[in-house]
């Protein structure tokens, strides 16, 4: 009964590894892709109040007007980006839905989409489910996992892709781009007939200067669909709330699909998201804490022999395990069984990244400290 299209989407052996982890209750997990903080109280309280006040209905397909206006204001204030709340902003059920909508809105069968690797697991799967073809643009550790513009140009010229999915700060590497690096990228992309889908969900979790939105580059806005949300920065993963901004024509097409498939994002989450845009202080406190953890864990991982590029955002490290001559899945399994520490095998983020593991430092310092002791002991016994 299951369609060929769905059958074709690969379901790697990592699922079995996940089941193994979930069956071990006392594990120190560095494998979690979400904040360890609870949603700030002011946001939760707003959600509770909205229920008390009886906000339990559908909203407009586009999302609550007040939330779209708040998002437009946020983007204008932070990036001097002007999006019309009327027809250039759509409230989605998380970035995942936003990405699916964007791909469904633009792809015809066999259209090509560039996915920058290592990549978030859903990118190639969603392209394939929408009958597109994935072009992997692999980045290398020695280039800091950043896009090599020459390689990008070759792909663009050879395959003429319909779109490219960008993600920065990145899951799984934590790397991001400076304004100059983004300008360099845009110079390569600007004259091509294609759409850039920019997933900037980790926008708030940034440790150096400040995040630069791709759509804010001169001339880029008309070719960009910006995807963002509240899951990571405001620790609201369970609220499933995000937004998409882009050219009117694309947003209209995305809205058409959204209105039949999802109708609207949950009203409680939309009201909570409006409050989240005001929770700057709470977000800053979380980012400060992530930074302390990052500084600690990256230094320690490098000291014990796991070469790790310094992440500049998000809450992940992508550490190299090549010298231990053990595949990523075997490495992760052995670490789990011997030391009760869970990490994610790198190949989950691209088949060429079996020499890496993803370590999430969205965990308490005490746990990170204990995890380092255990990993060091594990490496010594290898």
């Amino acid at each position: 009964m299951v369609s060929k299209r769905v059958k074709k989407v690969s379901h790697s052996g990592i699922r079995a590894f996940f089941d193994l982890v979930l069956g071990m209750p006392e594990v120190i997990s560095l494998g979690v892709g979400e904040p360890d903080f609870v949603t700030p109280w002011r946001v939760r309280e707003k959600a509770i109040t909205s229920l008390e006040e009886g906000f339990t209905s559908y909203t407009s397909n586009k999302g609550l007007k007040v939330l779209r206006e708040d998002i437009a204001y946020h983007l204008k204030k932070k990036y001097a980006l002007r999006y019309s709340p009327e027809d250039e902003i759509l409230i989605t059920t998380g970035v995942s839905e936003g990405l699916d909508l964007a791909l469904r809105a633009i792809l015809d069968p066999k259209d090509k989409v560039i996915v920058v690797s290592p990549h978030y697991v859903a990118y190639p799967a969603l392209v394939e489910l929408n009958l597109g073809e994935v072009l992997f643009l692999q980045t290398r550790e020695k280039e800091g996992f950043k896009i090599n513009t020459k390689k990008l140009e070759q792909l663009l010229v050879k395959y003429k892709p319909k779109a490219m999915i960008l993600n920065y700060p990145s899951n799984p590497t934590g790397i991001t781009y400076t304004e100059n690096e983004l300008k360099k990228l845009w110079r390569v992309l600007s004259d091509k007939e294609m759409l850039i889908i920019s997933d900037e969900i980790y926008e708030d979790i940034f440790y150096k200067e400040s995040h630069v939105c791709f759509a804010s580059l001169k001339g880029a806005k008309k070719k960009v669909v910006l995807l963002n949300g509240f899951s990571k920065g405001c620790a609201m993963t369970g609220f499933r709330i995000g937004y998409a901004c882009g050219p009117k024509e694309i947003i209209e097409a995305m809205m058409k699909i959204h209105s039949f498939g999802m109708l609207c994002a949950p009203i409680i989450s939309q009201i909570a998201a409006s409050e989240a845009l005001k929770a700057k202080k709470e977000i800053n406190l979380m980012v400060k804490e992530y930074k302390l953890r990052r500084d600690f864990i990256v230094k320690e991982l490098n000291r014990i022999g796991l070469h790790t590029v310094m992440p500049e955002g998000a809450f992940y490290c992508f550490s190299c395990i090549e010298k231990f001559k053990l595949g990523d899945l075997d490495f992760a399994k052995a670490l789990l069984l011997q030391e009760n520490v869970a990490v994610i095998p790198g190949s989950a983020f691209g088949i060429s990244y079996g020499g890496f593991i993803r370590i999430s430092y969205a965990n308490t310092l005490e746990n990170l400290k204990e995890a380092v002791v255990r990993i060091e002991r594990f490496l010594k016994n290898l």
């Binding site: 997990s29 697991v121 230094k299």
Partner: protein, 160 residues
């Protein structure tokens, strides 16, 4: 506030070596900075937040006492505040604006002990015009720490 102070305020028992790693400083440098903070009176004391309601045998009674006082010439409230805060029963003492002047946090082994302190030591002071006592029924949060049990982390152990 400096990172070192921020971390210590939350966890005074952190090891110097760990603190140095977190702040990307050398251990010796961190030690020196802490000594300096102690010398300047920025770090006053290292204390532990104890949830006494969880102790079976050692129950205490806490009370908040509002005190109206007559300020004294030249020294204002300082002199009378000093007379009051020197009593060991007084855990905290604040000068406030509003309908009363000093707010005291008292701890005693029972209500009688606190009542005795108020009637025998505090109220008779010549500068004290009046007191209002409030006995604490339950502590929910103290010094930024929530004392009631919080639920376990509800995240799945692995996600992308």
């Amino acid at each position: 506030m400096d990172d070192i102070l921020e971390i210590l305020e939350n966890n005074a028992r952190i090891e110097i070596e760990h603190l140095a790693k977190l702040t990307r400083k050398r251990g010796e440098e961190v030690k020196k900075m802490i000594k300096n903070y102690e010398k300047r009176g920025v770090i006053v004391k290292y204390k532990t937040v104890i949830n006494k309601s969880r102790l079976r045998d050692e129950r205490s009674v806490f009370a908040l006492i509002e005190v109206r006082v007559t300020p004294q010439k030249d020294v204002g409230f300082d002199s009378i505040a000093q007379r009051i805060y020197r009593f060991p029963e007084v855990r905290s003492c604040y000068l406030l604006s509003g309908t009363y002047d000093l707010l005291l946090f008292l701890e005693g082994k029972d209500i009688q002990e606190i009542a005795n302190f108020v009637s025998e030591k505090l109220a008779p002071l010549s500068s004290v015009k009046g007191t209002t006592s409030h006995f604490m029924l339950k502590k929910y949060k103290e010094d930024g720490v929530i004392l009631v049990k919080d639920g376990k982390n509800k995240r799945l152990a692995v996600t992308y």
